[in-house]
């Protein structure tokens, strides 16, 4: 279980995150929404160890990993994808996954014991391209590869930063199905950021809403849909 408590982070006088708390249980899919600049990506960066918070804690099963660097977060079982793809573009599809998998086999052997690289590439529709350089893949394939690389860490928490960005409705529906499948098969806690409210509301069980660096609402999807504060910030777009 992931517990984020009282995270604060300033960038040169600007408060990017103010006293942000959030929980995500194993097997839960949590949506994280908010307008641009709300602090969603900063929060993901803090949880994954990319950013060091000024205060607060990121506890994974009771162990604090905040501010200890991305290696420590990864070793603890936090894996992520990026809003902008961060694949090893020069390596093949299989090698991209192997970099994470060999690292995980050394660091978290129990978590990846059952991980079958071939079967997963089939499940993610990447098997036909397994020997091709990642940069030659289509955008949707690259997105799925990034998720699979994160999964190869055998994570207990999976952070997906705008996984459906740039996808059409059919593709994002398939992606939602894939993410649900990940939850069912791997049982990890999943936090999903996306601007597509329709996508998030269909996918998530609970939603956290951020604005101006703070959490302004949290709860089950139906409650969030009716929350006046949420409707206010999404003025014009009816969730």
């Amino acid at each position: 279980m992931l517990e984020v408590r009282g995270i604060g982070k300033q960038f040169g006088g600007v408060s990017a995150l103010r006293d942000v708390s959030l929980e995500c249980r194993k097997g839960e899919i949590r949506g994280l929404i908010g307008p641009n600049g709300a602090g969603k990506s900063s929060l993901i960066n803090v949880i994954s160890g990319v950013l060091t918070p000024d205060k607060g804690a990121v506890a994974l099963d009771g162990r604090n990993v905040a501010g200890k660097g991305p290696e420590v977060a990864a070793r603890a079982g936090i894996a992520r994808t990026f809003q902008n793809l961060r694949l090893f573009a020069n390596l093949s599809v299989a090698q991209n996954i192997e970099v994470a998998l060999t690292s995980a086999r050394a660091l978290r052997p129990d978590a990846v014991r059952g991980f079958d690289l071939h079967a997963e590439m089939v499940a993610f529709s990447l098997i036909a391209r397994s020997e091709d350089a990642a940069r030659t893949l289509s955008y949707g394939d690259q997105r799925r590869l990034e998720i699979l690389r994160a999964l190869a860490l055998g994570p207990s928490v999976l952070l997906l930063d705008e996984p459906a960005a740039g996808m059409n409705d059919v593709e994002s529906a398939a992606l939602a199905e894939l993410i649900r499948g990940i939850r069912d098969r791997f049982g990890c806690a999943i936090i999903v950021i996306d601007h597509d409210l329709h996508f998030i509301m269909k996918l998530s069980e609970r939603i956290t809403v951020m604005d101006m660096g703070a959490v302004i609402a949290e709860g089950p999807v139906d409650a969030i849909r009716r929350d006046p504060k949420v409707i206010e910030i999404y003025l014009g777009s009816t969730p």
Partner: protein, 299 residues
């Protein structure tokens, strides 16, 4: 015919020395974006290790060569640990200035504690002989230089493509921050890069000393400058580019020396750099460099 083949071997020998040094620069640059101008001092450390051992009466080449290479590896690792790790995440100019600082410090240490003047190291003089290969009269040193460089480069390719650490290093060269996000320790990857660069510089140092027959505190400067040029020709950060750039530089230099009338010999460097400028005007990213694509929010 004889003369041509000899000159080709000459070019290959110089070129492979540049390639070894350029590969060392490139492997560090590709992973941490540091242009390590103290790379030349790793050569110097290897060379002075030979000198010190001879002074101590341990002058057997079988002992001197491996220990000089080992000293270069340890020197490179020490540079990383002491000087470059504290400024790892600082702007690139800080890293470069740190490299100059290390370079000056090491040069002055040798100047102060050994001597400002060249010292003879003749233990490898035995390599400077000519041998007959069939009908050809060739320099043993050049054959060895080419052969060893080939073997080492092949070993490096195998390491990078077949081992898991090599795979991690190739991934790190593409996106260092992402490699940390899959749990691979930054220190391990970077120390390996420095270790490899030290190994390559140590091997180059053996050949450089064998050819010169002497050592001096600033002896690393010219080789590292050439290696830098080789990297620029090939495309900075590209390992194949560094190897190709090194070989090409060897051919350009030897070619100009051979083709130019003797009295114009002093113009060699000028013409070499004019040619390189021409290459860079037509291909600014170097022969094998990739165009950098920006636009990633995380960087």
């Amino acid at each position: 015919m004889d003369f041509v083949l000899q000159q080709i071997l000459n070019a290959l020998a110089f070129g492979s020395e540049y390639a070894l040094l350029a590969l060392g620069l490139a492997i560090v640059f590709s992973i941490m974006g540091l242009v390590n101008f103290a790379h030349g001092e790793i050569i110097t450390i290897g060379a002075y290790t030979m000198y010190i051992m001879i002074v101590m009466g341990l002058g057997s080449p079988l002992l001197v060569i491996p220990l000089a290479v080992l000293a270069a590896v340890l020197g490179a690792l020490a540079f990383e640990r002491v000087a470059f790790r504290p400024v790892r995440y600082a702007p690139t100019s800080t890293g470069m200035l740190t490299a100059f600082g290390v370079s000056i410090l090491v040069q002055n240490a040798f100047l102060l504690f050994i001597s400002a003047r060249p010292r003879a190291v003749s233990v490898l003089g035995g390599l400077n002989v000519t041998v007959w290969v069939g009908p050809l009269r060739l320099q043993l040193l050049q054959i060895l230089e080419l052969g060893v460089s080939l073997v080492v480069t092949l070993g490096l390719i195998l390491f990078l493509t077949r081992s898991t650490l090599g795979l991690a290093m190739r991934a790190a060269a593409r996106d260092f921050a992402m490699v940390r996000l899959v749990g691979i320790r930054a220190n391990r990857v970077i120390a390996t890069a420095f270790g490899i660069s030290g190994l390559l510089a140590g091997i180059a140092a053996v050949f450089i000393v064998a050819r010169r027959g002497s050592i001096e505190p600033d002896m690393g400067f010219m080789p590292v400058l050439k290696a830098f040029v080789a990297c620029v020709i090939g495309g900075f950060g590209s390992l194949p580019g560094a190897a190709v750039g090194g070989l090409l530089l060897g051919f350009i230099e030897v070619g100009i020396l051979v083709l130019l009338p003797q009295q114009w010999g002093g113009l060699t460097d000028a013409i070499v750099f004019a040619l390189i400028a021409l290459i860079l005007v037509t291909r600014p990213q170097g022969l094998m460099g990739r165009n950098v694509e920006l636009g990633d929010k995380e960087r």
